[in-house]
C-alpha cells in the first residue's frame, strides 16, 4: 500500500513540474518599460545663490591748506578748506544666480570712533530678477562718505562697516492702468497728498515716529462724499483702508499695488491725516532716491469705497533713511 501511495505522489510531482515547464513554453509574456518624469508634490524649497563682491573701500579725506599773511602778527595764518572725500574701489556688486527674484539692501554703519562720518549708497535697495540660462542679473552700487575725518587719522583707519542684506523678493502685485479706480470724476477726492503740507500746493512727505507715511485728504472732500463724517472722532472709530497704486512718474508701465490700513487718524487743519505704515505690508516697496512717483489712492471706510485721490511723491534719501 505504501509503495502505491509513494508511486502516486512521485507521479504527481513529476506531472506538476512538467506542467510548469509546459506553461513557461506556451505563455511567453513580453515585458514593457516606459520612462516617465514625474514632478514631486513635495514643497519646493528655494535655494538662494548670490555673489557679493566689493572693492578696496578706501577713502581719502583731503583738506587744502592755504597760508595767508597776517599783517598784524607778521606771521602766516593757516586756512583750511572744507575737506573732500575721494574713493578707491567704493562699489559693491550683487549678482543673482537663484531661480527666484531677490532684494539686496545696502547699509553703512559708522564705527563708534568715527560716528560723525556717514555713508550713503547710490541705491539703498535693488531688486534682481531670477537668473536665466544666459543671463545673471546683477547690480552695482557705490558708497560715498560725508562728514569730517579728524586730522589725527593720517593712516588708513576703519571708519565703518557695510552690511549687504539679501532675501527673496516679495514684490507688490502689478496692475494695469485700465484697472485703476480713477475713472469716475464724481468720486474724486481733491487735495489728496502723501505728506503734511499744502502751503505751496506740494506734498511734504511726513514720516511719523512709528515709521508711518502720512496720507492726507481734505476733510471737506471726504465729507462731501456723502458719508457725513463731521469730526475726527467719528472717523477715528471707523476702519479706514487704502488701495495704493504707484509707479515712476512719466512711465507707462503697470502700477504696483499695495493695501494699507490707517493705524491712526487725526483731524488736522481742515484735513484728515491717516498714518499708514508702508512696512506693514510685508512687501518690498522699491523706490529710487531722487525720483518722483505718481500715486492713485482709493479710500475705503468700513469697506465702502468713498473715492480716490491722486498725488505725487519725490522719494528722497531722508525718506529712504527713515523708512529703512
Amino acid at each position: 500500500m505504501k509503495r502505491i501511495i509513494s508511486l502516486f505522489l512521485v507521479l504527481l510531482m513529476v506531472f506538476s513540474l512538467s506542467t510548469v515547464v509546459t506553461a513557461e513554453n506556451s505563455n511567453k509574456q513580453d515585458v514593457y518599460a516606459q520612462y516617465v518624469t514625474q514632478t514631486s508634490d513635495d514643497e519646493i524649497i528655494p535655494t538662494i545663490n548670490v555673489d557679493v563682491a566689493w572693492g578696496k573701500m578706501e577713502f581719502t579725506y583731503t583738506v587744502t591748506e592755504t597760508k595767508k599773511w597776517n599783517a598784524a602778527t607778521h606771521m602766516y595764518d593757516t586756512i583750511l578748506s572744507d575737506g573732500e572725500w575721494t574713493a578707491t574701489g567704493n562699489t559693491v556688486t550683487v549678482s543673482n544666480h537663484s531661480d527666484t527674484e531677490i532684494v539686496a539692501s545696502f547699509a553703512y554703519e559708522s564705527d563708534p570712533s568715527y560716528s560723525e562720518i556717514q555713508g550713503r549708497f547710490s541705491k539703498s535697495k535693488v531688486v534682481l530678477t531670477a537668473a536665466e540660462p544666459t543671463t545673471t542679473p546683477s547690480a552695482e552700487v557705490s558708497l560715498d562718505l560725508t562728514g569730517k575725518l579728524p586730522a589725527s587719522a593720517t593712516t588708513m583707519q576703519k571708519v565703518g562697516t557695510i552690511t549687504v542684506s539679501v532675501e527673496e523678493a516679495m514684490l507688490p502685485e502689478t496692475v494695469e492702468e485700465s484697472a485703476l479706480p480713477n475713472n469716475d470724476d464724481s468720486n474724486y477726492l481733491e487735495n489728496m497728498k502723501l505728506g503734511g503740507s499744502f502751503a505751496d500746493g506740494t506734498a511734504v512727505p511726513v514720516i511719523a515716529d512709528d515709521q508711518s507715511l502720512v496720507i492726507s485728504a481734505t476733510a471737506a472732500s471726504i465729507t462731501a462724499s456723502g458719508l457725513a463724517i463731521e469730526n475726527a472722532d467719528d472717523l477715528s472709530a471707523r476702519h479706514v483702508t487704502f488701495d495704493v497704486y504707484y509707479r515712476l512718474q512719466g512711465n507707462s508701465t503697470d502700477y504696483y499695488h499695495v493695501f494699507l490700513e490707517a493705524s491712526r487718524i487725526e483731524l488736522g487743519l481742515a484735513r484728515y491725516n491717516f498714518y499708514c505704515n508702508f512696512l506693514s505690508t510685508g512687501m518690498h516697496l522699491v523706490f529710487d532716491v531722487d525720483q518722483t512717483y505718481e500715486f492713485v489712492i482709493a479710500v475705503y471706510v468700513d469697506g465702502e469705497n468713498i473715492g480716490y485721490g491722486e498725488t505725487t511723491l519725490e522719494w528722497t534719501q531722508e525718506l529712504a533713511d527713515k523708512l529703512a
Binding site: I45, P46, T47, I48, N49, V50, D51, V52, A53, W54, G55, K56, M57, E58, T88, G89, T91, V92, H97, K158, G160, T161, I162, T163, V164, S165, V166, E167, E168
Partner: protein
Amino acid sequence: MLRYSKLIMASLLFITTVAVSVAIWSLYFREPDVVLTPDYAPKETEPNAEEIPGDSDVKLEVEDGGGAIGIEYVPKVTIDLSKREAQLSFSNPGKSTQDVVLQIVVQNIVLVQSGRIEPGNRVQRLSLLDGIEKMLSEGGYDGKFVILSYDPASGEKSMVNTEAHITVDVQK
C-alpha cells in the same frame, strides 16, 4: 539655647532659599554670554564643514584689495533642541575669495556661531551656543544668517558683512 537654635534654623532657611533662587535663575532666566564677533578669523576650521562635491575653484573676479563671496543657502533652518543643533544648508563655494564665519541670529541673539568655513565647503549642521536651548521654545521664528568674511591670508575681517533672511523652525 532654644533661641539660639531658632536663629541657626532661620539662617539655614535663608541660605537655602537664596541658593535655590540662584539655581533657578541660573537654570531658567540667566541670559547666555554675549557673543562677540571675531575681528580675526578663528584658526580652527568648522568641524561640521564638508567639501562641496564637484565644486569649481575658479575664483570670482575681484578688484585689487577687494573681496568676494558666493553664498548658497536654503532660507529655512531647523533647530533640534534635543540634539542641541541647527540643521541647515549653507555653502561657501570655491569661487569665494574669503573664508566665512556663519552666525544664526534671532531677535538679535546669536544662537549659533560656526568656526571658519573655507571656500569649497558647506555645513549642514552646527551646534547651538551654550545655554541657547533654554531660551528657545518650539515654534517658528524670523531670523537671519550673518555671514562674516575674513581674508584667508591675513585672517582680517572684511568691512563687508552679508546678511540673509531665514526662517527658523525650533523643534524639541
